[in-house]
Amino acid sequence: MAGRRRTTALIGDDNTVVVAGKRLTWRTLRKLPQLPSPAAVLVDNGADALAALRHHAVHGTELLVATESRVDERMREELGESGFAIVLPDGAVTLPRLKRVEESGRAWLLTSGSTGRPKRIGHTLESLTTVTADQPPRTWLLPYSPGTYAWWQVVTLSLTQADQGLVVIEPHELEDWPKIATEHGVTAASGTPTFWRQAIYRDADALAGVPLEQITLGGEPVDQAILDQLREIFPTTRISWIYASSEVGASIVVHDGKAGFPRTWLDRDPHPERPVLSVDGDELVIRSPHHGAGQIGAVHTGDRIEYDGDRVLITGRLDTDEINVGGSKVSAGVVRNVLMGHPGVSWARVFARKAPLVGRMVAAEVVPNRSLGPITDADLVQWCSTRLPDYGVPRRIKFLDQIPQKETLKSDV
């Protein structure tokens, strides 16, 4: 049985870290000057973000790390008023407007802010280190934007466990990551469904050449179609999906290759290492041992669920997932899953459009799978008509040339 540790010692300090094609280790990353604490370190590359994290781990400082582009002027002012020195990529430091005592060892994350402005969630290296069982030796791809919860998940794994190398992918390298991953022997990769879909869409053969033993999906609703497509390309690879957020941490991990999680996981007896999952109305509620500061107890996640036989599907955000078409309600996530199930569709987004008589109508944007020949909106309407009620069929479908992707590797589906 694998050993379980509760330590954030820098056991991985000599793990390989590949940045901009250079093979380094955590220990040999560029040394940053002594950082102030509390500090918001704004970076323009992955290597500096890792260096800031290691500095935090060694010195126990209070740290927020994020890409420069993610923290606008207003947020920088707010951080300064909350006691953070702002450290820019060139090393310039803006001192805080409020002086306060640091919270030693506190790591701050910015939530994705999909419902408004990003907010800060407090963690510690320990609360962010959720993989504690010993892992087989692996080299992990790191495509995530520095400072996001998913980024912390991968980097804490590499820093606190032996033989967990990292290959950092910068935003400008995202289109070619399979080539870089193959070159550096990446055996494990975590990304959003959008990230995986793009990789398949761009060059499935290049993706198939990456010697992946572990594929992880998270950050967005995970549909059966993307799991099946990855399984076809990687027949023997372990494919997992994770439900995680800054607020509740990594709370659901599914390895059986199916979308959703077993219904039997709801309302299980409390266990110190395992989150308790429940449903309130149609909202997922989680009580998690990996929660952020102040998120103790049952957290209403804002994510909407639907039951599908013995599975619980997470269909999307509660405030945007449900579309009311003339009094009949349909889940955008469910419609999207149907569209994504069409072999000619590489990506889809489903949303409501204002319409006369019925108030809202279901509409969609679709990126077709170029390798399977042309499809028309009529094909897709026909496909959906046999799988959805009338009011759930997207009547207006717009075709896009490429899969949209944000810095967070998500596409706002």
């Binding site: 459009r353 319409a355 006369p356 008589l357 019925v358 009547r395």
Partner: protein, 71 residues
């Protein structure tokens, strides 16, 4: 309107007086038609502008769409 009907596997009758219920042109079809017009014009339409009134025939639909475009 013909495109919406065709997409549903039906044909648009020639007479403006044709009853929508009889030809199976439902609320969803009407709404789709409005969105098609919106897409054609490349501009958001004010669906509240024409006001509430009975839309029972093919001619009523066409009048409504015309009103939308000029609103």
């Amino acid at each position: 309107m013909g495109e919406v009907m065709t997409a549903q596997g039906r044909a648009l009758p020639a007479e403006d007086t044709a009853d929508l219920r009889e030809i199976g042109f439902r609320s969803l079809d009407f709404s789709e038609l409005a969105l098609r017009v919106e897409d054609e014009l490349g501009d958001e339409l004010n669906f509240d502008a024409p006001g509430l009134r009975r839309i029972a025939t093919v001619g009523d639909v066409l009048d409504f769409i015309e009103q939308l475009q000029s609103a």
